[in-house]
Symmetry: C2
Subunit: 337 residues, 2 copies
DNA sequence: GCTGTTATTGAAAACGATTACATCGGGTCG
DNA sequence: CGACCCGATGTAATCGTTTTCAATAACAGC
């Protein structure tokens, strides 16, 4: 707590060890130094408790050794898992990660993009909203970007995404196989992900000769709960109750389950339910919830791989890695009758 | 993607605007500049697309404008909520947050503490494991630290914690009021939090004249599931089945619920269940899970307040803010019979 | 008209590290 | 033995800002 002493710098270490600052720097970065001096310097570092100043280091070396990771919702276990994978890969490569959370808010996205530039990040992994994705082409960033979860329509950026249409179709096929015929769909209205899942849902229903009924809501449990309650009330009046509902993410899934509780509906007796993301709790709710499981860790790893390859060769053609999900069938789609 | 042009710096802006770099700097930091020049500089900034280099800025100004936040598990909604509160408060104060995740691993804690020093953070908010907490007194950091969730035994650091004994007692009292008499307790074995909750649990049971039966496990759902299964099997053989079990965090809670499923026990018929942290899914599992709700947002805000006050006055006495939780009663403790 | 004061502005030092370049010894080879 | 080279080390330039300090201009007071 002695506030008066200045923080110790590389000069102090050099003096303590009786060498030049250059030698200290070389020891710190495993440069060519004789064993004798190296030992002296290491002792001095320990003795003084020296910690290099990262700002100075980054400024001079023009190397931030940092990659950015901008996700839309850190509470979503999908993103926590991905960020874990990214961080592990980054750590192995001796890099740090700056993790930012946008809440699907374009203003925050813009703010964090600016931050990334000011931090001079080496690269960025980004899950943008549709709004930002649209103008991202025209924004110029001076670092490579890999998109995750949300994909670019054109091809200026590398990206890694789930095969969303296929995954949605997987759910529809499963529901159809279990005997459900009126399959409602509830989708988020901010991400391209939801759009793709909706497309897969529609195509699969068409293939089975079924009619699609889809609605789009803000990606919150509350919105989903309210919408599904309204929807079912209407459906009951018109005598056209769906026998199953699939949703495009786990927040909506929670909303739907809540709604069935307040409406007094049983799962799957009155309504079958299926969704995305195999979160730990989905196994524990009701008879267990049928979900699509994403290869979350692989998605994170793939994003890092793409990023590093791009850093190696900035000129190569952009790539899009598409991974497929698997259907985890549980009691919530137990079958008709 | 024009890689050949050097990144533009403050010099380029100065040349573009026909002023000195000092003036540009002053405009950027709202220093005293005539309106005419200010306008010219702002135009130049826009024209060149200049972004200040944060490393250089931090190096020169000796002000990182950054606070560290080290949590033990970012997937734990308690910490996601806290970090949200911290980040909001930091943003309002014009600061950035470096968020780090230790997984309750002392090595990672040490690594991140080192990182905080090298980043020259202004202050740190930290939820340490017991192991690290013990040696934290002897470590010298050159920035103030506020502990959250886990409290310091001595008093070198400011801290903000839940009133853990009281919260645990709240649960025990509730269970007792519902008619339960054999109340088992399952606690994590890495945090001081669990220790305090255990103490409250024991005291409350004693007050009711009941016998405490507690066990400690690693803070994972798997460990809890295995332990509770073993425990119940033993208890059944010895004819001393508990009629209720309380656990010290939400991961353990999940493990216990899983175990009841595989063992075919009903909640609360065969076993009442209660735990900590009012996560969204606890409402949806079985008849709803009775939990202690923590004032998560207030905890984050209080930590930031403590930190800022400490920065204002490094000499003042350390404080410990204790907030109380509330009991959210649900079906999982529905009552005996 | 001279001086003191204040508000703008620019030149240059400083922040704490890395690194280009020079220096120095000692070994190898012709 | 001299030329050459190589590895270890030190000196000083450098990264892109902020900030100190001096300079200038404008203006008020006497």
């Amino acid at each position: 707590m002695s506030d008066s002493v200045k923080a110790i710098g590389i000069k102090d270490v050099a003096r303590e060890a009786g060498v030049s600052v250059a030698t200290v720097s070389r020891v710190l970065s495993n440069g060519p130094v004789s064993d004798a001096l190296r030992a002296r310097v290491e002792d001095a570092v320990r003795a003084t408790g020296y910690r290099p100043n990262l700002s100075a280091r980054r400024l001079r070396s023009q190397h931030s050794q940092t990659i950015g990771l901008i996700v839309s919702d850190i509470r979503n276990p999908f993103f926590t898992a991905v960020s874990r994978a990214v961080e592990d890969a980054a750590f192995q490569a001796g890099m740090r990660v700056i993790l930012c959370n946008t809440d699907e808010n374009p203003e925050r996205e813009a703010m964090y993009l600016r931050l990334m530039q000011e931090e001079r990040v080496t690269g960025l992994i980004f899950a943008p909203t549709r709004a930002t994705l649209a103008r991202l082409d025209r924004t110029d960033l001076d670092f490579p970007v890999v998109l995750i979860d949300r994909s670019a329509p054109a091809g200026r950026f590398d990206s890694v995404v789930l095969d969303n249409p296929q995954a949605a179709a997987l759910l529809v096929d499963h529901l159809h196989g279990q005997g459900y015929r009126r399959i409602a769909g509830l989708f988020g209205n901010t991400s391209t992900t939801a759009v793709e899942r909706h497309a897969g849902y529609q195509a699969a229903l068409a293939a089975h000769g079924l009619h699609a009924e889809a609605r789009f809501v803000p990606p919150t449990a509350e919105a989903a709960e309210a919408e599904i309650a309204r929807w079912l009330a209407e459906a009951r009046r018109s005598g056209a109750m769906p026998d199953a509902v699939m949703v495009s993410n786990s927040l909506l899934l929670m909303g739907v389950v809540k709604a069935t509780r307040t409406l007094g509906l049983t799962i799957p007796g009155d309504l079958a339910v299926a969704g995305f993301d195999n979160e730990p709790w989905t196994e524990l709710v009701g008879p267990g919830l049928t979900v699509i499981e994403q290869p979350v860790h692989e998605i994170g790893r793939a994003a890092m791989t793409l990023l590093f390859e791009r850093l190696d060769d900035p000129e190569r053609a952009t790539r899009k890695v598409v991974l497929s999900g698997t259907c985890v069938a549980r009691g919530s789609t137990g079958g008709v009758g």
